[in-house]
Amino acid sequence: MTTLPSQTDTKLGLVIDLDTCVGCHACVVSCKGWNTQNYGAPLSDKDAYGTPEGTFLNRVHSYEVQPDQGPAQTVHFPKSCLHCEDAPCVTVCPTGASYKRTEDGIVLVNEDDCMGCGLCAWACPYGARELDLMAGVMKKCTLCVDRIYNENLPEEDRVPACVRTCPSGARHFGDLGDPNSDVSKLVAERGGMDLMPELGTKPVNKYLPPRPKDTLDCGVALNPVAEEAKGFLGWLDNALEKM
């Protein structure tokens, strides 16, 4: 059914720290690896040894942010499905392939039902859905539903592949519906934000903004040791000035 559940038991999702992400794309690679070998159709590549083009469920953009004052900052920005509470991608789906789970709020595509119309990808504001052109079905982040409950894996591996892989600890996984969970506390503490809140999708995933940069007291790093050139350099400076 492509109507949304009025409420879910938990709200599993990711918290992504834009302050710590170093833009290494390790999460992109591990996501592709896990999701190509496990649930559903593999994520295909076209022309892998030419101009590559392929399906990914997670992508890392890189931005420069120029504040009013002070130097610009770089921010690496991983982006995948935000498992929205009011997910427009689900309600537009004509076949019932797209759905939001009542137990944990994960948004999934049942590939046996998908007809590859692509309307859900149009409805998603975040570019979180990509139609796999080889399989003809819609692919999206599953929050590694085949890892997080998988008792065949050691406990520390029962998190999404991207979270397990991130070398800088910029990705956190947990229940954002529980105000006492670690992720909820992190969001409260760091002012976690929604992407495009104006579109009313109510994303479960949150982003932690970069921490404010500290500032130096003096304008320059070192005070100059000599204001005027003396000796040979002073003579050269004068001589060149006169020429």
Binding site: R59, S62, A72, V75, T95, L119, W122, Y126, A135, L199
Partner: protein
Amino acid sequence: MHPAPSVIFFTAFSGLGFGLLAFLGLGMPGLNGWLAFTFYFIAYAFAVGGLLASVAHLANPKNAIKSFSQWRSSWLSREGVLAVVTLIVTAIYAIGRIFFDTSMPALGAVGSALSILTVFSTSMIYTQLKTVPRWNSPTTPFMFVAYSLAGGALLAGQVTLALFTLALYLLIVAAIAQLLNWRVGDQRMLTSETNLGTATGLGNVGVVRQYEPPHSGKNYLLNEMVYVVGRKHARKVRRISFVAAFLIPVLALLAFRDAPHIGGMLAIIFHILGVIGSRWLYFAEARHVVANFYGK
């Protein structure tokens, strides 16, 4: 948005076909036998041809049958259900007209209403998308339905004075709907709150600029939703399609008042070309909010 020929063909021709079915259901023109067959043949060729084009757009058409299941929530599903129901209802009415020389006016009227409802639901597939601010306005259904009725009236032929006058007025209404759609669409783009700052949440920190894209090649998102060529030629295509869809047909109808077949034929040909141009632009000009992430 990528102006895929299949969706342009789908919206243009299913609109024309259902528009004609709406008039035929009301007995305009009220023909029987072979003549009725000819008109119904054209209407079905357009409507069914358009629907088949939309199936060609699917990456996995073997599951298309499942798209009738979610009519409670999905406009695309509703559109499919309504299209099939409409085709069946109008077919029963058409059989009466073609083979039994009888008219079932109540059934015909229901068929007409369903035809318009089908076009309305087609337009809602696009109207509902908040992600494409240009489409997300009441002018979209108004325009789709107005185009469908104007095209339907033209296709119904200018044999009676009533049809002639109706075609003329409906063309003018559709022209107004089109101008309104462009205007409101332009405004939506200007007043849209969404930008790279809200998309990344970094707008509070400063001015955001992409310095490195997430991938070196193209991908589905760029191909499908970040189509920028159309925006460049928008003004020119607007003028051309407007002249073809409305100005020439109106002039042709008026100029050939005494020879309605010639005037009607000219009007239909130019109108169809204009509809295709306008639909191309409808897709090509529309900007999806995901383009923000790519700084496009």
